[in-house]
């Protein structure tokens, strides 16, 4: 520790502290902007319903295999049940962030959360 304190002057500590604050501020600015406020439900590739996440509700969405049940609660949304054989979209659980999406492929139903700023699920360099 004496090694560090020997080479850090008061101004250095200040700059270090300011840098840490700046980094935290940047993180809160960038990573909390992704809060979701809407659920977009599609069936057979067409928009079925757009719902605000502020109201809790249950909804049946018809597809070629039967009805998928979607529930919205506590600003989160999930596919509660689905007739698809592998149940991937159901097992995904609650979606919270903007840009998250659950797709029930055999039943052609999808549930996507959107926010003020759209998040991307992949970036390639």
């Amino acid at each position: 520790m004496s090694y560090i304190s020997n080479h850090l002057k008061i101004g250095d500590w200040l700059v270090l502290f300011a840098g840490a604050l700046f980094t935290l501020w940047l993180a809160s600015l960038v990573w909390h902007g992704g809060a979701a406020d809407k659920a977009v439900i599609r069936s057979g590739g067409k928009l079925f319903r757009e719902l605000p996440l502020s109201r809790d509700l249950e909804l049946e969405v018809p597809g070629p295999l039967g009805n998928s049940k979607i529930s919205i609660r506590n600003h989160q949304a999930r596919i509660a049940s689905d007739p698809s054989p592998r149940q991937y979209c159901v097992r995904q659980g609650w979606l919270k962030q903007a840009g998250e999406i659950a797709i029930c492929l055999p039943n052609q139903v999808s549930l996507e959360l959107t926010g003020s700023s759209k998040r991307y699920d992949s970036l390639s360099y």
Binding site: H7, D12, T23
Partner: protein
Amino acid sequence: MTASVIKLATTADDHHIARMAAFALGLTVLEAAIPSPLPGVKPGLANIVTLIVLARYGWRVAAWVSLLRVVAGGLVMGSFLSPGFFLSLSGAVCSLAILAACHNLPQRWFGAVTHSIFAAFAHIAGQLLLVYFWLIPHAGLAYLLPIFAAAALIFGTVNGLIAARFTAMPESHEEVTV
């Protein structure tokens, strides 16, 4: 036919700058072997040399060493005039610009760590601006900003401490250890 010899007149200063740039180049090559989790997140070891030179010989010599290192590094790594080279160059230019400013801060309170942290932030800012305006003009880049900032803070501090330690050593000692 007689062989023509082209001889450039060089001064002791030139030799000194070249030697320092060579140290920095060695660190660049060394660093290329370290795997990085994200392009752009690198320790930037070569900047330690820039900081020591800045503290000892002033900004002009530091600028020479830094820019020579970028050009020679591009040639050695095979990235000369490629996007990677220009990213390196824009980072170095931004770092030098901010170093010119914070070099004038009172030395009693601000040392190499201050210089290093400012330079690290300027470095990544310069690179990201170039990436945004030239390579990936995409708002999604913003999501990586906190990661780059945290890396700049950590590596900037560590490099600054190392530079402060070498700067504090007597010069003759340094020639032996480096």
